[in-house]
């Protein structure tokens, strides 16, 4: 079994609360079989030996840990603002490193090529300088003042606009993005990517949204996000090596990749290496 390292003591999404049954869902967490089920109406998780694992029910998903988390699962305060629609998008299985899935979520430069005519389009490919920091007080990676021209930024967007983004990495396999919200200027839509590491090269991705969009049908919102993610999957399953290289040398970033560089540095600093490779192969 590969080394779970420091990631063992963190929280991971393992199912959608609404979909739980008493019979349960058999799945994997970092290579270990677990079962996620309803016990007297409350979410519960046990490992392959029958041991009960800790549980948190938050953001429409069930969270657990194989180890002993020394802090609470992160919060998304904006999601509690009144008037938002909370959208459980569902699950998408991807044959890639959980860390590569998060890194792709942090990346805007691929919009014109992977989400052509939706989240980006040529010739509007330039990535302006933005700001990245590791916020030591909360131990999170933040990217702010990110801007990108988009032909159809969201289901609710009509025509092209320049969208502002902020990105936040709040756990080894979780990221939240904030983006300009077309129907409500001055507010941010919230889109989160919760990644369940099944193995180092296989993950299940649970996107989740808290939107001000009140016109669109729920199924349309879900389909829009799923379509975007299917496009990402075609890239994620074809990156070499499958593991995320944490040491410089194997891959060549540019200024547009500042968020990815900070994410890799943060992972390495904490020993979050499940799904990563350390030495250039």
């Amino acid at each position: 079994m590969s080394d779970q390292g420091a990631m063992r003591d963190h929280w991971y999404p393992v199912g959608m609360t609404k979909q739980l049954t008493a019979g349960g869902r058999d799945t994997l967490l970092m290579g270990e079989p677990i079962r996620v089920y309803l016990d007297n109406g409350a979410p519960a998780v046990s490992d392959g030996t029958g041991r009960s694992l800790p549980v948190i029910d938050r953001f429409g998903h069930v969270w657990t840990s194989l180890g002993a988390p020394n802090r609470d699962l992160f919060t998304i305060p904006e999601a509690d603002q009144p008037g938002r629609r909370l959208v459980d998008v569902g699950v998408c299985r991807v044959r890639c490193s959980p860390l590569r899935a998060v890194e792709n979520f942090l990346d805007i430069a691929h919009f014109p090529f992977v989400h052509t005519d939706i989240l980006g389009s040529e010739p509007h490919t330039e990535v302006q300088r933005y700001e990245v920091e590791i916020r030591e007080d909360v131990d999170e990676v933040w990217a702010t003042k990110v801007k990108f021209y988009q032909p159809q930024a969201a289901k609710s967007a009509e025509g092209g606009i320049t969208t502002d983004y902020m990105y936040r990495v709040c756990a080894p396999t979780c990221s939240v993005l904030y983006k300009t919200c077309p129907p409500k200027p001055g507010e941010w839509d919230v889109i989160a990517l919760f990644v369940q590491p099944l193995t180092e090269t296989l993950c299940e991705v649970w996107p989740w949204m808290a939107l001000y969009d009140d016109a669109a049908e729920m199924t349309d919102l879900i389909h829009f996000q799923q379509m975007i993610f299917v496009q990402d999957r075609s890239v994620l399953e074809n990156q070499l090596p499958a593991l995320l290289p944490l040491d410089p040398g194997m891959e060549i970033p540019t200024r547009a990749d500042m968020t990815s560089i900070a994410y890799r540095r943060w992972l390495k600093r904490h020993g979050f290496t499940y799904g990563a490779q350390l030495v250039a192969a």
Binding site: F113, E126, N238
Partner: protein, 212 residues
């Protein structure tokens, strides 16, 4: 490292302005043809974030990566980074390049510089490539020959069979048919090739069971 030519694809399977995956030993290749018709074989890995270049797109004389659109030209040199349109990419950003040449409708590749041109088979042209789950030796034997270049008969006609060993007990069979063969002959040849595949795969499976 080999400086011999290896057959890696058929010319007809890589039309102008397209890219396809290929292999040279253990190395994954992106084999692509420019708009003007130049063939090239590069490492199938974009230096930026490791995306397979065989999924990329060709514009003019450049191959671009599908992930962030980085464009690569002559010699694998990166010439364009769309996120930074004003930037001239550093010379160090380069995709490893392999030798590639075409003869008798076959794309041949090599690591290094082979001594001569790849072989010609006058009167034959590339017909079909098949991926077969059997080692090259088993495939050659099933065909009734030996080695990696076999001239013989398959089904209705004379053929040249080029056998490319691939990792994991797999082979590619690049089949050349007589120039100008009619549709009926080629249909029958296709069926014979499928039958050869089944025979070779059955023999490989049997050999595996015997050693198990």
């Amino acid at each position: 490292m080999t400086t011999d030519w290896t057959p890696a694809a058929l010319s007809r399977d890589i039309p102008a302005a397209s890219a396809a995956p290929g292999q040279l030993g253990e190395t994954d290749l992106a084999i692509w043809r420019s708009a003007s018709g130049r063939i090239a074989a590069w490492s199938d890995r974009c230096p930026h974030r490791g995306m397979r270049l065989s999924h990329g797109f060709v514009r003019g004389e450049r191959l671009s990566c599908i992930y962030h659109g980085w464009g690569y030209g002559e010699g694998g040199q990166c010439v364009r980074i769309p996120a930074h349109p004003e930037l001239t990419p550093p010379e160090a950003i380069k995709v490893p390049v392999f030798a590639a040449a075409e003869a008798s409708g076959v794309v041949w590749v090599a690591d290094g510089t082979p001594a001569g041109a790849p072989p010609e088979f006058p009167g034959f042209e590339g017909f079909r490539s098949l991926r077969i789950h059997a080692p090259a030796t088993v495939l050659a034997r099933a065909f009734g020959g030996a080695g990696h270049v076999i001239e013989g008969t398959l089904g209705p006609c004379a053929v040249v069979a080029l056998i490319q060993p691939l990792p994991g007990n797999v082979s590619a069979l690049h089949l050349l048919a007589p120039e100008g063969a009619g549709p009926a002959t080629l249909d029958a040849l296709s069926l014979a090739a499928e039958a050869l595949r089944r025979t070779a795969e059955a023999q490989a499976e049997q050999a595996e069971e015997e050693t198990a």
